[in-house]
């Protein structure tokens, strides 16, 4: 349906786009208490057969170095100590964030081929290396800016500016939730700090509020306001609820049946269910000791992220549509994310140490439960790092600056061709040269895996039908299984 046709059809038809009341009023819903929340989009997914139903998005904040992780560059070792111009064989004046273009530095981590696929992974990620055959690496990403925040916005929303909905919100909007018992979009910030921009990183933008990411904690009260306030007894609680039901019923008798009345009543029933279900799901004590160990729970550096990953698996099992995990916090001193300007080796060793084992565990765990085939796992950063160091021109320094010209991301899940390294950068790992992939393209591909045509998932906002993929994006079919 054309956009005008759609808008016209709303004139004297069944209520406005914003009436989420309709969601809860869906006849199918009333019939079956256990079913989820239907998608809110006017043209909801799935638009075609989908391979995936849910997403785990791991956001590595700060920009991780591709040449030290997934982009094997033997030439970079050869040119260690030389200039970028020499390494590229052409005149290139990089426009880096801090303006210091030093000499090329080889990777601080040894690369090996892994699994049957022979995927090249450095020993920065020894655990992920053991599941190499499940991974799909893209080595030819590029971004439009080397400035953290606009780059992060583009990574999440497709736009460089504030105010747009993030990937998770679009998925929640386009597919709905599989369950009423949990939010459709859950967020686990890093233990050390929120990412820069805070809630901007999981904002619903102009999409309705229910698509905003809901923060969960892996320790303590899982969701805000979940627990009954201290000091209220069972008797008081049930007296309140029963009285509430009566008050609402009396009003309904007087007013007649109105969506807005009915949906509110229903939302209290759902909230009560959530109060029961969430503590059960977030109780990690229900998992075995072996599972705890596999995910790295305990006293070590992997504890927090391990708990978050294990919780993620449980949330996915219980119908959460989108879980976002942050590897890394904001830009403070001392550094708590992947932004390795000063000493990249030390920085990345620390950051990878926190997430490598839990992520590998999550992949293995989902696989053995038969869930990997219809889950999308995504590991991204807003940009990569330079193969030359951030130092004086004649030096091989220890840090790397931002590099938006070429960087890597990886996916896992049945929708993708696993054990694949797609696209490539030039021999020293500076810029994407073969099959370059823009964020819009990656988003289009991910939505496609979820059964969504990125051009059909739209929302009217201030003059235009907005999409996650702005006005671009091509599905990269070579990535899809």
């Amino acid at each position: 349906m054309s956009r005008r046709g759609f808008l016209q059809s709303l004139q004297f038809g069944l209520g406005a786009t914003a009436a989420t009341a309709l969601l809860l009023e869906d006849k199918a819903l009333l019939a079956d208490e256990e079913s989820g929340v239907p998608a809110e989009a006017a043209d909801p997914g799935p638009h075609h057969l989908s391979r995936a139903k849910r997403v785990v998005h791991v956001v590595a904040t700060g920009g991780f170095s591709q040449v030290d992780s997934f982009d094997y560059k033997p030439e970079l070792s050869k040119f260690h100590g030389k200039t970028l111009v020499e390494g590229l064989g052409r005149d290139e004046q990089p426009d880096v964030f801090f303006g210091q273009v030093g000499r090329l530095r080889q990777s601080d981590f040894a690369f090996k081929q892994h699994g049957e696929s022979g995927l090249w992974i450095s020993d920065l990620f020894p655990h992920l290396a053991t599941v190499a055959d499940e991974l799909t690496v893209v080595n030819s990403m590029f971004a439009e800016t080397s400035n953290h925040t606009p780059a992060t916005f583009q990574e999440s929303t497709g736009f460089r500016l504030n105010g747009f909905p993030v990937f998770g919100s679009w998925v929640s909007y386009g597919l709905g939730a599989e369950t009423q018992n949990l939010p459709s979009y859950v967020v686990f910030p890093d233990a050390r700090s929120l990412p820069a921009g805070g809630s901007i990183n999981w904002t619903n933008g102009f999409l309705p509020a229910r698509h905003q990411g809901v923060i969960m904690r892996s320790q303590g009260t899982a969701i805000d306001d979940l627990d009954r306030p201290v000091g209220i007894s069972d008797e008081q609680e049930s007296a309140t609820r029963n009285l509430l039901a009566r008050l609402n019923r009396r009003l309904q008798n007087e007013q007649g049946d109105d969506d807005v009345l009915i949906s509110r009543i229903k939302s209290y029933e759902l909230a009560a269910r959530m109060q029961r279900v969430v503590p059960e799901i977030t109780d990690l004590g229900k998992e075995s000791k072996e599972t705890h160990a596999m995910y790295g729970l305990g006293d070590g550096e992997t504890n927090y992220f391990g708990r978050a990953c294990l919780l993620t698996r449980r949330l996915l099992e219980n119908g959460v549509r989108f879980v976002q995990l942050f590897s890394g916090g904001a830009f403070q001193s001392p550094r708590v994310n992947w932004d390795g300007h000063e000493d990249n080796k030390k920085n990345h060793t620390r950051e990878a140490g926190r997430v490598d084992q839990p992520l590998a565990a999550l992949i293995k765990d989902l696989k053995q439960r038969g869930m990997l085939k219809d889950t999308v796992i995504l590991f991204t950063s807003e940009f990569g790092r330079t193969p030359f160091t951030q130092s004086k021109a004649e030096e091989v320094g220890a840090g790397r600056d931002h590099n938006q010209n070429g960087f890597s991301v990886w996916m896992a899940g049945g929708a993708f061709k696993s054990g694949l390294a797609y696209g490539s950068t030039d021999p020293v790992g500076y810029a994407a040269v073969e099959n370059p992939v823009h964020w819009n393209d990656l988003h289009a591909t991910l939505l496609h895996a979820l059964g969504i045509d990125h051009k059909r998932l739209t929302y009217y906002h201030n003059g235009i039908m907005r999409r996650l993929t702005n006005v671009g994006g091509e599905v990269v079919s070579d990535l899809l299984a």
Binding site: R4, V96, G198, V214, L244, R264, K266, I464
Partner: protein, 766 residues
């Protein structure tokens, strides 16, 4: 062709540069039939790709000469010879347009044209000339001068109803349309319901039992009108309606982006909006001051405070301080887009920002015109505006006194042992008053503005001067500025073009917003877009009439409020009717009042008011509902602060972009980085959890219970009466009384208060 024609054409080409749009006045007067049929088809189906700018296949179909020249595949057509015309071959075989073949009727028109000799009409074709299925042209309704249609007569069906029809033209229009759809209006709402509705709509606060009583016992014929007037004169009106304005103009009190530094001195603009609305400042003056207050009255502090509007959007600190000049230019263009979009969407309901990289795809706005508007802002940058020099001694003194009051309060707070956070907050407020400045704009010498091809600052096109948009009829788009006009002078010219009785969009956009806020949906349901992609008008003549009336009332916003609020349309009951729902479930025809949930701010204010906690403290630095610290970026940890300083109306909350309040957000408080002309209203289980379990809500239950005992006494019946009057603005029914008395007897007052605060009747306005 003679020399004079040739000269005309050459000068035309020079003036229009490489862009395919010619001037509106054609070089050669046209053939009517060609213009309205053939040209319309070519524009609709072909010229998106085949124009002087895009030139797919090397083919431009917009001018006679271009068509004669043909494209990469050869000559376009053989006049008179259909079969051998390349254009026809492509179209007939459906090869062109790709994926969207031309329908038979249109093909027939083109065939007839080619066979008949392919005579050309207006040359070159102006793609904006006519609106089509794909885009709006110069004839688009919102670009035409405003008319004043006569209010239609009531039908006999309607006048037979015992409907309290007022002498109000709004009702004529509404009833006529209802009649068209064979619907009847709803009867007027009961008095108590109407009173509660009026209070909440106009002031955002429920009536106190005392106010309610006064309203109910007043039996005079003009009791309602006098209540309307009283509420419009209340300072609480400005506090409520300012919040609507702040939604639209993306008001945030932090920089956004990565650093999101706090803006401690943005609050004066917010107060200015509250005061301007309370004073019923004429809307044109309201507009001009926000765009160019610093030019209109350089030495008037309040005029300059108004320009806080321009600086209310985000500012990319890191972006502006990065080393690369190339990236910095992009960041500056992003900032110009923020200001341009805020200005044009707010005041004109036009998405001019969509013409940053190309001509607007849907409305007759040229890319050049986007840059003409940014040229008026070329010297406008975010900055601190220091008032010390321009404030009068009386103003300085007043400010000093207010600062001193906070110091006094802070000392008192320490003495009586208030929380550390509250003590700190009072100290903050003292300092923020003392800081006599505002985050708004700083003028610089305006540099040259060029059209940026494809929006890329590195590929500059023609030089442009500040000017408006030609397709708006009734007001000249020429600013006639001297080339050395200052930044503020340019903005004044922009303001005068916008805030003009002759500007077709200015009045229409605002009256539509007013309707939106009173009825929940605008006459155009996309208040920021009256262009092609905007919604269809539900009542075209009414919109015209209201816009004209607004101008006749010298842009007095309160006059329009009064007109709307005293209409019978407004007073209708909110009860559901199955017969009407079957025809118009969305209530676009306004056959009743749509029951609506309170917005975030009104809900919070209502909870505070009912529980006796709300302070009436107006103005001043906002309160923080967060702690904040800086670690390169500014971090905000939102929580529920306890203390009188935090029991102010929600409009006085300091709004930071990365520190969203889960409680407020769950009730659809918008992202302050978005322009939100139309808040969504969602219903979610998280809202239920918030109202049941959030500490703010439970505190309200407890305080409400205390209030009942304290003010109504120990009799449970009296407590129940008082509770229902406070919460629902009516008396309890016998059934309710029995029920509540019993529950109170079992579990006490607090659980009952908790239920009432969660109930539909409190949260919804009917």
């Amino acid at each position: 062709m003679n020399k004079s024609d040739l000269r005309k054409i050459i000068s035309l080409l020079i003036v229009s540069g490489t862009f395919f749009h010619a001037v509106v006045d054609p070089v050669v007067a046209g053939d009517q039939e060609f213009d309205s049929s053939v040209a319309a088809i070519l524009v609709k189906r072909c010229t998106e790709c085949h124009n002087g700018f895009d030139l797919k296949g090397g083919l431009d179909l917009l001018s006679k000469t271009a068509v004669e020249k043909g494209g990469d595949s050869g000559p376009t057509l053989e006049a008179g010879d259909l079969e051998n015309s390349l254009l026809w071959q492509r179209i007939a075989s459906d090869e062109m347009p790709p994926e969207h073949p031309i329908p038979q009727e249109e093909k027939a028109v083109l065939a007839k044209w080619i066979s008949g000799g392919a005579n050309w009409g207006t040359d070159p074709i102006d793609v904006f000339r006519y609106s089509s299925e794909n885009r709006a042209g110069y004839d688009w309704w919102s670009l035409q001068p405003i008319t004043r249609p006569d209010p239609p007569e009531y039908s006999r069906r309607i006048s037979k109803q015992k409907w309290n029809v007022a002498n109000n033209s709004i009702d004529n229009f509404i009833l006529a349309k209802l009649d068209e759809h064979r619907l009847l209006p709803s009867p007027p709402a009961e008095k108590e319901i109407l009173v509660r509705r009026l209070y909440l709509d106009v002031t955002g606060l429920p009536p106190s039992p005392h106010d309610l009583q006064n309203a109910l016992v007043d039996d005079s014929t003009d009791a309602y009108e006098r209540l309307v007037d009283r509420l419009l004169s209340s300072p609480t009106y400005g506090e409520r309606w300012a919040r609507h304005w702040l939604d639209v103009i993306r008001f945030g009190e932090s920089q956004g982006f990565e650093r999101d530094k706090l803006r401690k001195n943005s609050w004066r603009y917010r107060d200015w909006v509250i005061d301007a609305l309370n004073q019923d400042m004429p809307y044109d003056e309201f507009t001009k001051l926000q765009l160019a207050g610093d030019e209109i009255a350089r030495d008037d502090m309040y005029a300059r405070i108004a320009t806080g509007f321009l600086g209310a959007g985000e500012w990319d600190e890191v972006g502006f301080s990065q080393r690369s000049p190339v990236f910095k230019r992009v960041v500056r263009q992003d900032q110009l887009e923020d200001m341009t979009s805020a200005i044009t969407q707010t005041f004109l309901g036009l998405t001019v920002n969509c013409a940053r990289c190309h001509d607007h795809k849907f409305d007759p706005i040229l890319q050049k015109e986007y840059y003409q508007i940014t040229a008026a802002l070329a010297g406008t940058f975010h900055g601190q505006d220091i008032f010390v020099d321009v404030s009068t001694p009386a103003e300085l003194d007043d400010n000093r006194k207010k600062s001193a009051v906070y110091e006094y309060r802070q000392n008192l707070a320490k003495e009586i042992g208030l929380s550390d956070f509250e003590i700190k907050q009072l100290g903050e407020s003292k300092e923020r008053y003392g800081d006599f400045s505002q985050y708004s704009i700083k003028s610089q010498d305006p540099p040259e503005t060029h059209v940026l091809l494809r929006g890329d600052p590195e590929t500059r096109g023609e030089l442009v001067q500040p000017a408006g948009i030609k397709s708006l009829k009734g007001v000249s788009a020429e600013f006639e500025l001297p080339t050395d006009a200052t930044d503020s002078r340019r903005r004044l010219a922009l303001a005068e073009w916008i805030a003009n009785k002759g500007n077709p969009l200015f009045a229409r956009t605002m009256v539509n917003r007013l309707w939106h806020y009173h009825f929940g949906t605008g006459l155009v349901d996309t208040p920021n877009d009256l262009g092609f992609n905007g919604g269809q008008r539900s009542h075209p003549e009414l919109l015209e009439w209201l816009a004209d009336e607004f101008i006749q009332q010298e842009f007095s916003i309160k006059s329009m409020h009064r007109l709307i609020l005293t209409s019978a349309t407004y007073k209708q009951s909110s009860r559901s009717r199955e017969d009407a729902k079957a025809v118009d479930a969305g209530n676009r025809l306004v056959w009743r009042r749509t029951p609506r949930r309170l917005e975030s701010e009104s809900l919070r204010d209502t909870l505070l008011a009912i529980s006796g906690q709300l302070t009436s403290e107006m103005h001043g630095p906002g309160y923080f509902d967060f702690t904040t610290f800086n670690a390169n970026s500014q971090f905000y940890e939102v929580f529920d602060p306890v203390g009188e300083s935090f029991n102010r109306r929600s409009v006085y909350r300091t709004i930071v972009r990365s520190g969203r309040s889960p409680f407020m957000d769950t009730f659809d408080c918008p992202d302050p980085s978005t322009k939100s002309p139309n808040r969504s209203v969602t219903t979610t289980p998280l809202q239920a959890l918030a109202l049941m379990n959030n500490s703010f809500a439970t505190r309200a239950s407890t305080m409400l219970a205390n209030r009942l005992v304290y003010e109504a006494g120990d009799s449970v019946e009296d407590q129940v009466v008082y509770l229902i009057r406070l919460a629902y603005s009516r008396n309890p029914t016998d059934e309710e009384m029995e029920d509540l008395v019993q529950v109170i007897g079992q579990v006490g007052l607090v659980p009952v208060c908790r239920a009432v605060l969660n109930s539909n009747e409190l949260v919804l306005v009917r």
